[in-house]
Symmetry: D2
Subunit: 359 residues, 4 copies
């Protein structure tokens, strides 16, 4: 209710501040009987971990999952799964100077105005460090999806003006993690990497887009009206720090299309119903239709830059200020596993919501 929980049947609640002792997540509603170990979670955390390459924040965190409940002898029991990740390298001192500053395009001002009190260190609860707890939950969700034959693939489609034009069908989606940028086209990835390094040297930051495709989703996920599958995916993706937009299937391009061009014609072969095109992005009337689910999300450049900027202090005096603290020049590579995780969580939630009475 206060906004730190998501999901109806697979419900996650996260806690922790960037520079407090620990981050964590409680997953209530995970079915019993799923194999789950700390290592399975760690694999996903490693994809999001700072310090993993030259183009991400150099904060040093091992990000090791500690499972505190809900798993017995490597199997989920149906009781709440608590996963904790300790903060090892907070460097709170770095942030002392920020105590009385409203940094541009950060949440400093809005949190202060809303709550009156805040933990300013490293953005506190507003920090993207919160997403480590989401990825831990996503790791659990992915175990369930795997069992059901559903796979989520996200990759960096653009950084600044560098845009991967190829369609996802022509890419090797298993090569996403083959480079630091998480763009499954080696040549484009190389350009992106170089570009991000230049941005970083310059003390600046840059935005980009992520393309996501879900394969193997059965027909029938999503609830009509308010909890349409893409509405719920939209909500959680938009809830990721720095995300400013999302589009499904034809997306904004669909605004320019005629119905006769846009309609996805149903067809069939011996075994399957499918559509000849997929402008719907795999979702019709809010419910998955068995085709690939596709969407694209956009992330603004991170607000922390190592440049002089005008702003206000907490007494509303005009000051100048230069960013400090370790930061990502481009969040996209680390946003990939977060987008994967949030998508997986929504899919599991709707999968469980779609269980049916036996005849």
């Amino acid at each position: 209710m206060a906004g730190n929980s998501f999901g109806k049947l697979f419900c996650i609640t996260t806690y922790g501040e960037s520079h407090g002792p620990a981050m964590g997540v409680i997953i209530d509603g995970c079915p019993p009987g799923i194999e789950l170990t700390e290592d399975m979670v760690n694999v996903e955390l490693a994809r999001r971990r700072p310090g993993q390459s030259a183009i991400v924040s150099q904060r040093k965190e091992q990000d090791q999952a500690i499972i505190l409940s809900g798993v017995y002898e490597g199997i989920t029991t149906g009781t709440p799964i608590a996963i904790q990740i300790n903060n090892e390298d907070p460097k709170s001192k770095d942030y002392k100077s920020l105590e009385n500053i409203f940094r541009p395009s950060h949440a400093d001002y809005t949190y202060k105005a809303k709550y009156g009190f805040r933990d300013h260190r490293g953005g506190g609860r507003a920090s993207a460090r919160e997403t480590v707890a989401r990825v831990a939950a996503g790791a659990v969700a992915k175990r369930i999806l795997m069992q059901e034959g559903i796979e989520v693939f996200s990759y960096v489609q653009s950084v600044g003006n560098i845009f991967l034009e190829k369609e996802y069908q022509s890419l090797d989606l298993n090569s996403i993690d083959a480079n630091e940028v998480r763009c499954p086209d080696a040549e484009t990835a190389k350009q992106m990497f170089q570009y991000i390094q230049d941005i970083k040297k310059n003390g600046d930051s840059i935005g980009g887009t992520i393309f996501t495709v879900v394969k193997g989703c059965p027909v029938g996920l999503g609830a009509p009206v308010f909890d349409k599958l893409h509405a719920d995916i939209g909500k959680v993706i938009l809830s990721i720090n720095a995300c400013k937009g999302i589009e499904f299937g034809s997306g904004f391009e669909g605004a320019k299309m005629l119905g006769s061009e846009h309609n996805d014609v149903f067809s069939t072969d011996d075994n399957n119903v499918f559509t000849l095109t997929n402008h719907s992005g795999g979702i019709q009337g809010g419910i998955s239709n068995g085709m690939d689910i596709t969407f694209r999300s956009v992330f603004k450049p991170v607000a922390t830059i190592i440049k002089e900027q005008d702003t206000l202090d907490t007494n509303f005096n005009k000051i100048t200020f230069k960013g400090v603290g370790r930061h990502d020049p481009c969040v996209l590579p680390r946003a990939v596993p977060i987008v994967d995780s949030m998508t997986a969580i929504v899919l599991v939630d709707h999968f469980l919501r779609n269980l049916k009475l036996k005849k």
Copy 2:
């Protein structure tokens, strides 16, 4: 839980099928003491009503609100407000021929697959007629926003390739309803109107975009992490039939920007804190910052077209089929009040969630 409710403190639940006896909404959580009459609701319903102009569906519905509870002598009492709108012109016969067809890009196939049973008449629950209940709820939400000095303005920004390039600041937002298209630029509206008429003559349909601005929103609405203000707005706008995407502030353009360009610098005059630019779209860290909230949503062309199309029947045989039933060649003009309504509902919900303990 089954997806027909939205909102935590201002919670709406809609019911009704396109060709059933009535549509309706229950609003649970409306504060007591708000002036509310059926006429106040009817004004909003009239903006969404079919048959209001030559470029919308000609289904004849008076769409008169009947308030069944929650209001006594013109004042809300704090108990649930039930508003019903009878269906007067269902013409179910038109749909008899559709009983055994999966129309392309409709929800026929997904509903059938999900539920096994469906009311096929006019799309049943999947019909955009459901949104009449949302607009009724939106009318109530707007009464509360009015009292708090918050205004929501949505307008048609593009239809097909016709795009209104002017910024919202240069438009007269009070003239949105001055033309049938709901584009507050008379010249552009005229082009759009002509274009939609041509589309209609052709039996086709066309997509477009809506621009929304919220004025007067106080600082502090929105909850951190999952219930960020734009995440909740995103969810409800994406839940509107035919909506395929949404972007806030700089949106997808932000992908190409540097942090040093994108950051919104705080400043102040004698009375207010503001930012010099508004790439954030009025929301930072998921919480409103007092600037205008801005977003853009895209609507695909409606699936019903009066053209021959290939598809499958409910036995999965390939057939050809030509659309019947009254439909909108372009949903944008009627989507405007729906976008307004859903935005208003989210804002009221977060306004109530932001009430504070007295010191």
Copy 3:
């Protein structure tokens, strides 16, 4: 959230005031494929209907269910079921004199203090007339329970000091409706009937208790910790007007028992696991164990009596006042179907919550 909804997967929301135009309920989450007609609902409404005998309120209501959505050709479709019951005999004039009075032990004072505004006619939303909507929802829940072989039986166990000592196992539970009191022991029922008639003649009212047994409940319903099956049953039964307490299994008598007496020893025959005693009331650790679920609820005497009483007017002046309006001298006979209904709703909700992933 504002308290007019209950249930997680089988979620009901009621609306309507005693003297408004209609009462109603929206059921969101009813599975598709359940046979449902208005007559099936009417059968249950008739059990609760005023005017059904000499010992209940003589308000004349036909209480005919109108199904507005969610059912097509006699089968539920999975979309929200809206059921409306029109108010036909409100006699609001009777209540004009009550506009400025806080009646003793009614909700007049608390509603006024909470909301500032209220519909005073017949108690408005606080009236037990609200329960007609619950019974309509209960009728739907019972259809699902029937399909799963689960039956709920409630009967009047005591009225004032007249107490049916026989255990439920020795009663014919199919004879509950055989008399006006709904006590399945003809001799005791006769005494109760006579006693209630005397109370009524006297302008007074009397309390009593209801005993409920659920037969055929499978093992496994109920969720650990907060949503224990008896906790959820407790909540909804206590939410019925005039209910002041509930006890499960051994109940308050259990306070005096030793563990060695109270423990229910497990045993087995060829087909079943069972316990030799059932002090647990069919629920262990919050989860049904397959034995009969048993509980007892108490209803205070209704506050409306046709006797002179001291009280305050809405300006806090001391006045005397004599009850008007039609009322029940004893709510117990009509409370029976309400207790049945609320129990059925909780059971269906937990039944749906207990659906499992397929292996």
Copy 4:
């Protein structure tokens, strides 16, 4: 949704198993600006702690609260409060022998049937050790109540047949913790203590009742219909391990009363509205009326006894079995702070739900 959360605006989620590494609670929705330290939580935990006297379980737990988030420099920030309590003395070996046994009147059988998998050690999630997390949350709730002038007092009213006949008004409620039994009448407490010691020596257990009174509750808490204040209190008290019933105000005695006896007559003095009697238990129409809120709850004897009992093993073979593990011969003294805590949590939740729009 899976039952490990409670509360709408002040929402708690607990995790942890009896013999896992830790127990904990996340509180989402605690207002910012409340003073909170680990010591404030520890004071409440000490009231519930095992080993605190000769008549409770001798499991050795320090039960020290570790606040992981939501508090900065001793003040709540409005972000989720995570409190963890490590398990220090699990003695899991004691439970090895129980792995394949369904103990009588425990949750072993129902958990196994529901989930297929369970952590059998010490009852796992079904253990009353879970309540340590509730008491931690209750400590936070009590800080808010204190600020609002609301106090909750629970005490042991009966153990077995030893019943404290005095009314709460004649007792010194500040002396509840003056003895090990938590009965604020020294003479009765002494008898109870002696009786419990005898029970313990005998390897048996005994039930009892707790009386609770809330002082200083403002008028207006509670929501109509399903979330009546006593319905929500009823739910959470019934959700406490071993609780089998609850009654408010006149309770089960009310069944025998006439309306003319039971009605609480309103009166007034210069400053206050009050009722001359309080059969309503401080709640009318589900909403607090400003009088003391009173209720009584019953706890069955704990299932663990050190006596030979018949039961089944997990292969459904009949066996005999004798309890092992440390246990409470009578849960009542330790249940007192749990009842206090759950009551405080409900009151805070409804206090926040009762915040109003400013005029």
